[in-house]
Point group: C2
Chain length 331, copies 2
C-alpha cells in the first residue's frame, strides 16, 4: 500500500533487503549481509568474524523457560552461526533490555546463564550494556578471527553434485513447542528429549570446528531457521538446487507425531530453533568429513543444477519443499 506495508506484510526477508541495500559494503568487507556471519579485513590482513543475534522474549522464548535457559539460548544462537562457519568465538559482548519487574534473583539467573554458556563454548563475555525495556532482550555480539577468507565455510559455495548432509535429527523442538503451546502442558511433563530440545539447545561448535578444519566441506549453514529454510538459503546463496531423499526426523518427533497425528516430516522440515549444521561435501571427501564428525553426519541428498529448487525425492517422484520456517513478523 504505497510503500507503507506494515512489518507483518513485509516479512523479515524484505526488511533485511532494505537494510542490506542501504548499508552497503566497504573495501574492507570480506563477508557482508546474507551469510551466517559477517567478516571484515583487519589492518594487518587477518579477518575478523562478527556475529550478532538478538533474543526477544515475547517472540523467542517458549512458555516456562527459566531466566538461566533464556540467557543460555541467546548465547547458543550466536555460537551456532560461528560453528557453521568453522570459527571459534574469542570474545563476546552482551546488551540487555530488562523489564522493570525483574528481580535481582532474575538478574543473577540471567548472569549465570550467560556465564555458564559462554564458558561452555570457551570464550569470555568482556563487556556489555544494560537498559530498561518493555520486552526482555538479550543482544549478543561475538568476535572470532581467521587467517584468510578461504577458511570460512560460506553458504554460497555449494557445487552441483555435492552431497548434502546434516549433523543431527530434526523435529524435537517443533514437537516440544506444539506440545507446550497447543496442549498447555507443563514443561516438566514433556518427554525428556523434547524438553532438552526446547529448553536446553546446544550449539555444535566442536563439530563445526572439526568439519571446517577437515577441509572437506564446500558450504555450510546452521539450521536455526528450520531445515527447509536452511536448505533454501544454501541453494539461494550458491545459485544451485537441492534434492533430498530422506528427512532426518528425530525418534522423539516421530513418536510425538504418531501419537498426535502430526506429519513427522513437517515437524522436522519447518520447525526451526534447532541448532544443527547443514553442510555440503564433495562426494569423494564424504568419508573424510564423516571421520572429522566422528560419525555424526547423515547424508540426506545432493546438490542439483536447478537453481533455487529444493525438492524431496521419493519413489522416483519429486515433491517441492516450501521455503517456510521460522520467519519473524510473518505469523
Amino acid at each position: 500500500m504505497l510503500g507503507l506495508a506494515s512489518l507483518r506484510d513485509l516479512g523479515e526477508l524484505k526488511i533485511i533487503e532494505i537494510l542490506e541495500r542501504s548499508l552497503g559494503e566497504s573495501r574492507r568487507t570480506v563477508v557482508g549481509f546474507g551469510d551466517d556471519v559477517s567478516a571484515i579485513r583487519l589492518p594487518d590482513g587477518k579477518v575478523a568474524v562478527l556475529k550478532t543475534d538478538m533474543l526477544v522474549a515475547s517472540t523467542d522464548v517458549p512458555p516456562g523457560m527459566t531466566m538461566r535457559q533464556i540467557a543460555s539460548k541467546a548465547v547458543v544462537a550466536n555460537v551456532s552461526d560461528l560453528a557453521a562457519k568453522g570459527v571459534r568465538p574469542i570474545a563476546g559482548l552482551v546488551a540487555l533490555g530488562l523489564p522493570r519487574n525483574l528481580t535481582s534473583q532474575d538478574i543473577r539467573a540471567l548472569a549465570s546463564g550467560l556465564s555458564g554458556s559462554s564458558k561452555h563454548y570457551g570464550f569470555p563475555l568482556v563487556g556489555g550494556d544494560t537498559n530498561e525495556s518493555k520486552d526482555l532482550t538479550i543482544s549478543i555480539a561475538l568476535l572470532g578471527t581467521t587467517r584468510k577468507k578461504s577458511q570460512l565455510v560460506l553458504r554460497s559455495t555449494a557445487k552441483v553434485g555435492d552431497t548434502v548432509a546434516v549433523s543431527g535429527e530434526f523435529g524435537s523442538t517443533a514437537a516440544g513447542l506444539k506440545a507446550l503451546l497447543r496442549r498447555r502442558k507443563q514443561p516438566d511433563r514433556l518427554p525428556p528429549a523434547l524438553y532438552r530440545a526446547v529448553y536446553s539447545p546446544r550449539a555444535e561448535l566442536k563439530l563445526g570446528l572439526r568439519l571446517a578444519a577437515s577441509g572437506a566441506l564446500t558450504a555450510s549453514i546452521d539450521s536455526s531457521d528450520g531445515l527447509a529454510w536452511s536448505l533454501h538459503e544454501l541453494a539461494r546463496a550458491s545459485g544451485v538446487g537441492i534434492q533430498i531423499n530422506r528427512v532426518p526426523v528425530s525418534k522423539a518427533a516421530v513418536e510425538f507425531a504418531a501419537r498426535h497425528r502430526y506429519s513427522a516430516s513437517d515437524l522436522a522440515l519447518y520447525g526451526g530453533e534447532e541448532y544443527h549444521l547443514v553442510v555440503t561435501v564433495k562426494p569423494e571427501k564424504f568419508r573424510m568429513a564423516q571421520k572429522a564428525a566422528r560419525g555424526r553426519l547423515k547424508a540426506i541428498g545432493v546438490v542439483t543444477k536447478k537453481p533455487f529448487q529444493v525438492q524431496f525425492k521419493q519413489a522416483e517422484k519429486e515433491y517441492p519443499i516450501a521455503m517456510r520456517g521460522w520467519e519473524h513478523f510473518k505469523s
Copy 2:
C-alpha cells in the same frame, strides 16, 4: 528484600556489578567491564576493541524524534565511547527489535539513519539481525583495533595533579528535554541549539583520535551519562578525586535556565545524553593537548588525592557534586 529487590530499587550500577562478578575475565581480556569499551588480545598479539550500546525507544528516545534521528543516535552513542578511548571503529553490527506497527517507510528511514551515520564516522555496518519486539530496540556493536593496550586512553589512569578538561559545553540537551517534556513544546519550536543537542547529537570521533594520538591524555571518558556522573566514574576508576572550578554551561542552556528559572549548573552537571569528552592531562602537556584539539578543550579543574570525591570550588569554598545523572531504572 531477601535479594528480590526489583530493578527500580537495584539500579543500573548494581545490575552491572552482578553481571561483572558473574562473567569474570579470561587470560585474553585486556579491558573488561567498567570502562567505556572492552578489549581483548587477538591471537597475533594485537588488541581488538569492542563496544556495544543498546538504544531502547521507550527510555532513550525523546518525543518527536524521527526514525532517522533515532538510528543515528544509536550509532553516535557507540562511536562516542570509542572516541573517548582514541579508537577508530572499523566495522559494526546492528541488531534490531522492531514493533509490528512500523511501516516500510519507517524501516527505510531507520536504514538511512544507520547508513548515513556510520558512513559519517567512516565505518561499514557489515551485518545484523532483525526481530520483532514490543519496544523499538537498536543494539549496535563496534569493532576497532589497536597495536597495544597502552594506546587506549582508559578511565582508570588519571593522576593527582592532572588538569581536568572537557571538549564542549553542557546543558543544552537537558534544557531541550525539559522544554519538550515539561512544556509539551513541539520539536520545531525549540531554539536551534537545543534542537540540535536533543535530536542530532554528534560523537567527537576526530577529536578523540587526535587527542589520543597526541599522547597528552592520562585518562578519558565520554560524557553520555552526564558531566557529574562522568567525573565520578573517572575518579572512581582512577582512585582519585576531582575538583572543578567552573561548570562549562552552554549559552543556550544559560538562556533557557534564566528564562525558566532552572539552575544552569544543574542542567550542565546532571543532564546526560551529551557526547563530549572528559579528559585528564598532565599540566605540562596541556598546550600539546589543546593544539591537538584545535583549541576546543576547556580546562575545568584538577585531579586531587581525595579518593572518589568530586567537588566544585568557588570563592575558596568546596561543594560536593552528587553522583547523579542518567541512570536507567532509577527514575
